[in-house]
Symmetry: D2
Subunit: 135 residues, 4 copies
């Protein structure tokens, strides 16, 4: 794991598991978002504050590959990594682990938009944090 | 739209929209699943019966590209297409429309597994239906 | 069923069912909201327009009794009834059926608030519609 | 707080908040379930193991009163208390706090059932734990 990675423990909730006993695919985008949020928090920033300042990051692209099912009450580790950042987009990669087993891999592209959904340059404060993360 | 496509209307629910007023990315895998379920129903089969017979289809891969946000109370049209089927895997493509506007495109790969999660050949009845759809 | 009741068909989605094969309790508040939304639509009004006009209805109280589980792919009928309305609150009752079987009963109290969450008198247009429903 | 109470911190996720910026009512049953799960874990038991042993607890009744909205990224404290237990039913009470502010109160009744949904006497191990909690 490099400097620009972050690890988050996630306990699988009962309501997140389908009748086959597996975490439903729709739960993963929620997990990925938690990874990004908590990664940002470690830099001293806060996504809630960013939105309050008029800077919104929306998911433009999402890809997930499922290797092994996660199950109820599993304690997962989500590893989140920034792979690329420009003034308008941020790419992340993710790995979801249960112990030594890699359950899923994912990647997202976020776009920076205004409250009205117009593409806009990212907040300076955010760019700075992402820059630091890359050095 | 070709023979092996299916269209489903989906009314966006209040609880599916985030605080930016957009359908959250995590809702799309649920929509895609509805598309597959209803497409199958039109063939006279039923995914519930398939599972009762021990045939499970799990999402092995998922990709979504978001062009424009869907919003609360929008009446969406989800177009679902089978693009490839073997005895162990089915690939689908999807388009999400609001009127003439293409909001999102997606693709999934499903794997056929047993209740215990072992890869298994798909039920004959399902293969037949998919075969017919392709002819 | 009386004048101020409304019936809505809801097909249970795969992602709404837990590993016991039952619709999870957390899905019912979403169903109830759909019932209210569609009931309002039949009066010619639209909850989206109400919110756009600055009138918000938030759940102040919620109660549900579960008699029998709903299951994947069930075609449920949700019966929604307004039981009481003042200028600041609306009470609803709900019954969830699968065929002749009563699966659940619920009731909610909604409060009329501004975008900032302050209690406010309901929109005249809405009061009128509710009044008509009662006459 | 008494002996048979438990406190759990819950960070509100982005996907749990509606377009009014409030945690949607449908998210609370999920929180309540987390409270019960973690409370049980502190006794050395595990709800996953209970289910593996054929003991299922399903929600028979649910009531929630909402005082103040919870918002995105809030760090909530959920207080869970067992208020009554028999061999077939457990009642819980809950309070949801943000700091000193009481946001919501809830109560549930759980019924003990078999995998097939038949009412059954609770597992001895669970009864013992609940009994200890009451002494």
């Amino acid at each position: 794991m490099t400097n620009n990675s972050h690890r988050l423990e996630i306990r699988v909730r009962y309501a997140e598991v389908d009748r086959l006993g597996q975490v439903h695919s729709s739960r993963y985008p929620v997990y990925l978002e938690m990874g990004r949020t908590e990664m940002l928090r470690t830099t001293g920033m806060n996504y809630r504050d960013l939105e309050a300042a008029g800077c919104f990051l929306v998911v433009a692209k999402l890809g997930i590959t499922f290797h092994e099912p996660a199950r109820y009450d599993d304690l997962l580790v989500l590893e989140t990594t920034v792979t690329r950042a420009t003034s308008a987009r941020i790419d992340h990669k993710y790995k979801v682990w249960r112990g030594e087993t890699l359950l899923a891999e994912a990647e997202t592209t976020l776009a920076s938009v205004s409250r009205e959904g117009q593409v806009q340059r990212m907040a300076e404060s955010l760019l700075k944090v992402l820059g630091v993360a890359f050095s």
